[in-house]
């Protein structure tokens, strides 16, 4: 037992642990600053959310210790079982979930509630890792690739049914892992092109984008005229992609906006690109009074808080927006405002650098694994953290639409903190056995 403990101590990746603790500490400070009032009788009040967050942090450490003393083979062996039970709970949640702000993604009894969608990320990561590391699986086969994508995206289907779109989008980050494991480069190119096309469609009028695309196609055809003359396939590809783009921008996007997306989602997307919602997508109908874009208010308050921080910030517990609750949901989704306002650009820079170090360190750790299960799992962790971090901070500064996802380790919330902690601790546990080939 003592040798095992020494092994754990020697082989533990202290850098990741240190970065993790730093982020949790920053998070506790931020939540404290949001909740603290000068009228409070004592510094630390047990009924406030920072106290609860502190408790959850304690649970996370306990869970971490538990994980540390678990055999790492357990994770690979139980991966599919955990994944299946996770899916089952997700399906169950659709029916027995508690209604919170219109979504049914929470289950629980009384005051204890948790979000299965958060926890299911871990299981999905393990399932993907397990699937790819199976010796009989050749990931170069198209069929296996499709299965891997299905494993990654299956939970998001149920989460969408729970009406928690933001969380469902997180599962798309596993595409990045699959890319690392061998999905073609075209995936990334097509993905970014699609995003660019959607934003372009929203920003520019539909007729104009039609003309632009056509001109672009003709221009490419002109430049590549010698290749095209000899190669029939190239012509087909060009015409096909032009057709896809036109169809996407002229029909798919308007269709999605008119029939698929909810009003608040349209609001959020348009508030991100800084435009009013056009009349044709306005679900309320043509009312004369000024349409108030509700998510614009959140983003504006958030931008005010961050922008007013300046270079060095207003000082801890001196942020006027933070202290007086001008930013809605500041404890959870908009926790970054507290950092931006109170510590300014210097504080934000520090936080982003800590995150970036954590991500790069995880990638480094992933690449030194002997078993592919550990490597894929580590990449999954990096992707999840990256997606959360990038989208959350971007939405507070108006670079991304407001989707309700948390900032890992900082946001208030038990499900979020504990599941991210578990994610990290399992990674640390697997990393201790990096020389072992897991089956």
């Amino acid at each position: 037992m003592s040798t095992q403990r020494r092994t754990i101590f020697n082989k533990l990746d202290w850098i990741i642990l240190f970065l993790y603790l730093t982020l949790v500490a920053i998070g506790l400070c931020a939540v404290f600053s949001v909740e603290h009032r000068t009228t409070d009788t004592t510094i630390f009040m047990m009924n406030k959310s920072y106290a609860r967050q502190f408790t959850w942090f304690g649970y996370s450490i306990l869970l971490g210790l538990f994980i540390m003393f678990t055999d790492s083979k357990v994770f690979s062996s139980f991966a599919f079982l955990l994944y299946s039970s996770g899916i089952a709970v997700l399906i169950l949640t659709i029916f027995i979930g508690v209604d919170v702000k219109g979504s049914r993604s929470w289950i629980g009894y009384g005051s204890i509630r948790f979000q299965p969608g958060e926890v299911c990320k871990i299981f999905t990561a393990m399932a993907i890792a397990k699937f790819i590391s199976l010796p009989e699986i050749n990931f170069k086969k198209f069929r296996n690739r499709i299965i891997a994508v299905c494993i990654a995206l299956l939970p998001s289907v149920f989460i969408i049914l729970q009406k928690e779109t933001g969380l469902a989008l997180v599962y798309f980050c596993f595409i990045l892992v699959l890319y690392r494991e061998g999905l073609p480069n075209a995936i990334l190119i097509i993905g970014f092109s699609a995003i660019a096309l959607v934003i372009g469609t929203l920003l520019i009028e539909r007729k104009t984008i039609f003309i632009i695309l056509t001109v672009l196609a003709v221009l490419i055809a002109f430049l590549m005229r010698f290749t095209l003359r000899r190669n029939l396939l190239a012509i087909l590809v060009l015409i096909f992609s032009w057709g896809i783009c036109i169809g996407f921008s002229q029909f798919a996007v308007p269709f999605a906006f008119k029939h698929v997306l909810q009003k608040h989602q349209i609001d959020r997307i348009y508030s991100m690109i800084g435009k009013d919602v056009p009349d044709e997508y306005d679900k309320e109908g043509g009312s004369d009074e000024k349409k108030v874009n509700s998510s614009e208010y959140n983003v504006l308050q958030s931008k005010i808080a961050i922008g007013s921080g300046g270079m060095y910030g207003k000082g801890y517990l001196n942020g006027t927006s933070t202290k007086n609750q001008f930013v809605p949901e500041q404890n959870t989704d908009f926790i970054f405002c507290a950092i931006g306002e109170q510590f300014g650009f210097v504080g934000s820079l520090f936080l982003v650098l800590v995150y970036l170090s954590l991500l790069l360190r995880i990638v480094f750790v992933a690449e030194r694994q002997r078993s592919s299960f550990s490597r894929v799992y580590a990449y999954c962790v990096a992707s999840i953290l990256f997606f959360h971090f990038a989208i959350n901070i971007s939405m507070t500064i108006g670079l991304a639409p407001v989707i309700g996802i948390t900032l890992p380790f900082l946001s208030y919330g038990g499900s979020s903190l504990i599941s991210f902690s578990a994610l990290i601790f399992i990674l640390l546990r697997l990393d201790i056995d990096r020389q072992v080939l897991l089956r």
Binding site: T320, S321, K323, F326, F345, V352, R375
Partner: protein
Amino acid sequence: MATAEKPRQFVIIILFIGVASIILLRLFFLQNFEPKYKILANDIAIYKKVVYPPRGVICDRRGKVMLSNTVVYDLMITPHNVPKNLDTAQLCQALEIGKETYIDIMRRVRERNIDVRQSPFIEQLSQAQTARFQENTYLFPGFELVERNIREYENACAGIVLGYIGEVSPEMLKKPRYASYRQGDYAGLSGLEFQYEEELRGQRGVHYLERDKFNRPRDPYKGGSLDSQEISGKQLDLYMDAELQAYAEKLMLNKIGSVVAIDPKTGGILTMVSSPSYDPNLLRGRERARNYAMLYRDATRPLFNRAIQATYQPGSTIKPMTGLFAMATSAITSEFGFNCRGTYYNCSRPIACEHHDAGHAANFRVALAHSCNAYFCHIFRLGIDNERFNDVKAGLQSWHDYFYSFGYGHPTGLDLPFEGKGLLPDSAYYNHRYNNTWNSCTVVFVGMGQGELALTPLQMANSMCMIANRGWYYPPHFVKAIGKNPFDQALSRYQKKTVTNVPEPVFDIVQDAMQDVVESGTAAGAKLDGVTICAKTGTAENKAIVNGEVIKMQNHSMFVAFAPRENPKIAIAVAIENAGFGATWAAPIASLLIEKYLHDTISEKRKPMEQKMVDAHLINRYVYSIDSVSRLHDAVSFHNRQERKRVADSTARANDSLIIKRLFDNRFRH
């Protein structure tokens, strides 16, 4: 296998770094180069609270408070905090309001403001309401008493002098003096409150408070380091004697006129009454608008400060000045006599004199004591026809200059707003009026205080100071010290003497004569044992237009005096409109005031006289018809103006339509 896919690892690393860089770049610009967010943050989160300091107190010469501040309570309501099961019946009972009123106020409160903010429920509760509410405060959560300072006039006297405060009007806000004021601020609107606004108001304090998203003020912003403390208004110490003022107002009850008493040694005003006076406590608080309208409509015009704005022909009270002028220009000596037999015939029009016996104008002293019209008409003519001057025009100009130096014809510089300047004609005035052809006979009435000369009571009292001091006076003023400092910059102009160039011996002669006026002349009723009073009565003729015809009204009763002669302490002028002889009404009142001021009490012997003065009701019935006529005249001219404008407008419109019609006709004819 891992090495073969190394590039993918770098693509992912580059993606991580790239996205982090984009976020950092956006943050960098957002936090350092977009100042609008800082401004917005301050706008939404910082509440600028203006704290009004108490206004300065005004005290009389003995340090007795005349105008101070008192606390009234406004009942404020925060509808959000009012429980559903509030006992409205009990609240209504405590506040003495009906249920309908309660519902009405609640409706208005809810319309005006959001639930979580405090709005006024009832402003300025009466003392009874406050007491009853305070007893049961705990029963009414959501309601709160907020204290507010308002002005309190002790003794309820000197309203016309002290003035009143009110909210600044939009017109006032456009003036540079009120540049620092905002809508809803209070400022002095008349009297000393207006004149010394800058000193009395103090300095407003600004406190910066943070507020939360419901606009509720919370902690001080940055620990209060940006706040500026409010500074209380300065105290004003007046020369005024509050007791004398109250006594004077009592004597002037039911009379139209004014009293001005000045301390000749300092120019400080001891008393200024414009009768009828009003209770200044009417013009404060929530009743102000209604009471103001009531006072404004009153036919006796209590809001009009007669002491400094009304001008009267001085009548005989001018005669000492005429004497000063004649003797200063050496036109006569004190021994000069005139053989008056009751009428002055030297000019084409006979001028009547009250006295017929021979020798009543044997010399200056006797003539002034008997107030001989003929004598003063004559010496006035001698003065302006003096051979020292080339012609009568130069002579009259010299007279004008002397009188100007006595304080006539221009505002004396009193520290009250809107002081009248009276009328002091000069040669140019008569040239214009009589087309350059006039002589000393044309203007002779001025010598006896009738004709074109018109003075304010203040000017009359001021000239008494000049005689009492033998040739100099300080500009009359109210304020002795501002904030206990008698050398305040605002008072420096009152510390400069105005000197006349009348030789001193002349004053002895005039003072002798004025002493005789009281001791053996027309003002025997003003005699006061143990005090040498120098005085002059006056009875000014006046006319008014009533019902379309000019009628001669009852004379104005005038009296000017100073006492004691040896060491003058009080100079006084009393003018009572349409009361009769100066000796009958004005003289006893002035005498009583002198006694009150010098002896502090009225001797038993003079109590009946005092009673007679207090009881006298001397308001002429014509006042009401004259007032209604002049108001009707105003209304008619206003109506005419409106009508003319309306007619002009409709003519213009008719013209326009004619032009359009013509255009159309021309167009469609072909």
